[in-house]
């Protein structure tokens, strides 16, 4: 039973990683850049939700919508101001810019909100028991897993069935050819950042429901873990981000439970390295071969 309980909380944690990893992976797939500031958009979403609930006394759902709006706007604005001018620059310049944006957001948050830790209101707390009390499952884990599945399903439908989704896939393969189809590549990139950032807001709230502290660097660690999850699953691949996130959450939770809390990060990265040695493109990443 203990194992099952760890598995469920691992999947819950993994679902949060997966939601963040989807943002990394989609942006990488379309804009071919690592948006290092993605974790800090989570932080902005956490602050937005925190103030909406504490200062304005809004209910969770409204706070979540506000947080999504803030993150979406922030993500799109960052892309416009910081990344778009570098569309033809080297990937190193873009990476350095993204790291700069990340520090900028953290410092701006420190300046605006102070560096002290704020306590996020308790949401989605409580649990229910199964098997006549032998297994206790938190509502939060269940809600998180369900939200992640809904997001995953929705995104898959969007990417494969809608015209905009197909245009996104075209841009991810060949931007020049996409322009020749009449696709407005800048608009597609904006939409991608909007979706990724909106997902970051959802992740922010689920994260704060688990670890209820809000502070300017709160996005760093989950950001890095989710980035690892995205690489693990195959960066650029949506099912890969999903799978990578879930696996990372489960491995991390199991390692903490059965091996050592201190070593859990080391174990996660050891698994990552082994996977990348065997499959350099990640679990579901693929090498594209085009015939000429």
């Amino acid at each position: 039973m203990a194992f099952l309980s760890y598995l469920i909380s691992g999947l819950g944690l993994g679902s949060v990683y997966a939601i963040i990893a989807l943002g990394y992976s989609m942006v990488y797939g379309i804009a071919k850049m690592l948006n290092f500031a993605h974790g800090d958009i989570i932080m902005a979403g956490a602050f937005a939700a925190f103030f909406a609930m504490t200062a304005a006394g809004m209910p969770l759902i409204v706070a979540a919508l506000i947080s999504m709006a803030v993150c979406t706007l922030l993500g799109v604005t960052i892309e416009r101001l910081a990344y778009k001018p570098l569309r033809n620059a080297s990937s190193l310049s873009v990476l350095i810019t993204a790291i700069g944006v990340s520090y900028f957001l953290q410092n701006a948050a420190q300046l605006l909100f102070g560096s002290d830790t704020k306590i996020f209101p308790a949401v989605l707390s409580g649990s229910f028991s199964l098997f006549s009390g032998a297994l206790s499952v938190s509502y939060l884990s269940v809600v998180t897993i369900v939200i992640c599945l809904v997001i995953m399903g929705g995104l898959t439908l969007f990417i494969n069935k809608t015209k905009t989704g197909k245009a996104m896939r075209a841009c991810s393969e060949d931007k020049g050819a996409a322009v020749l189809m009449g696709i407005n590549v800048n608009r597609i990139i904006s939409i991608t950042f909007a979706i990724g950032s909106g997902l970051a807001a959802i992740a922010a709230i689920l994260l704060c429901a688990t670890y209820p502290s809000v502070y300017p660097t709160l996005g760093s660690m989950p950001g890095i873990r989710a980035f690892t999850a995205a690489v693990f699953g195959g960066i650029g691949s949506i099912p890969g981000a999903f799978l990578g996130g879930l696996l990372l959450g489960v491995i991390e939770t199991m390692a903490k439970a059965y091996i050592s809390t201190q070593l859990s990060d080391a174990i996660v990265f050891a698994v990552l390295i082994i996977v990348l040695l065997i499959r350099p493109t990640g679990l579901l990443g693929r090498k594209v071969s085009v015939k000429v």
Binding site: G176, M181, K291
Partner: protein, 234 residues
């Protein structure tokens, strides 16, 4: 229809196109022939808006399209079959064709054009659910042409459609180019295969290291001493 005027295109310090002018009239097949590195692809990409010229203009029905956002040029009636096909390998044949009609909203028109494309290229219909990346080179060329036709272009640019194809397939592709032209689409064709290109062209230009050195009707150029020596193997 299409008029290129005093076009200059640079890659950093390198001037790849050195002030060229040419035009393509309604209903014509015009070909631009030239050796490797002459600047053919650069010219095509500049016309489609993927590259910005250092100076000069490209007029499509009188509008200077160097000032138009590149994705809007397609909806003005200019489509391109790019060098190397550049089909979307991970999308199906059908999805590639639908992407060709991306800017269009006229459902019936799109369906009719799809039917027409399948008539021109029956092979594509047989393989419509197949991923484009798994098609043979010749099939990919057909898909790239079909995809461009789906934009219902007034003028279609084709960059070396014969590249890497067997002589038999090259013949087939050129027969289809002529068909497309007969259906009312103006064609600007870039080729290294001068013999085939001059054979179907109404008019032709010779591009050498970024400059137009010769022009005339297809037959005139095919007979010219200079062209025969340089491009037709004597």
């Amino acid at each position: 229809m299409l008029k290129v005027e005093n076009l200059v295109v640079r890659y950093g310090m390198i001037e790849a196109i050195k002030n060229i002018s040419f035009e393509v009239n309604d209903g014509e097949i015009v070909t631009l022939i030239g050796a490797n590195g002459a600047g053919k692809t650069t010219t095509m990409q500049t016309i489609s808006g993927l590259l910005k010229p250092a100076s000069g203009a490209v007029y499509l029905d009188g509008t200077d399209i160097t000032k138009v956002a590149p994705h809007k040029i397609v909806s003005m009636g200019l489509a391109q079959v790019p060098e190397g096909r550049r089909v979307f390998a991970q999308q199906t044949v059908m999805e590639n064709l639908e992407l060709g009609a991306y800017y269009r909203k006229d459902k019936e028109g799109i369906e009719a054009d799809m039917k027409n494309v399948f008539e021109l290229f029956p092979r594509l219909e047989e393989r419509k659910a197949q991923l484009a990346g798994t098609l043979s080179g010749g099939e990919q060329q057909m898909l790239a042409m079909g995809r461009a036709l789906m934009a219902k272009p007034k003028i279609m640019l084709m960059d070396e459609p014969s590249m890497g194809l067997s002589p038999l397939l090259v013949k087939e592709i050129f027969r289809i180019i002529r068909n497309i032209n007969k259906q009312g689409t103006t064609v600007l064709l870039v080729e290294q295969n001068a013999k085939m290109a001059l054979g179907i062209a109404d008019r032709a230009y010779v591009l050498e290291t970024g400059k137009i050195t010769l022009e005339g009707t297809g037959t005139e150029l095919a007979a010219s001493e200079q062209v025969r020596k340089a491009y037709l193997g004597g």
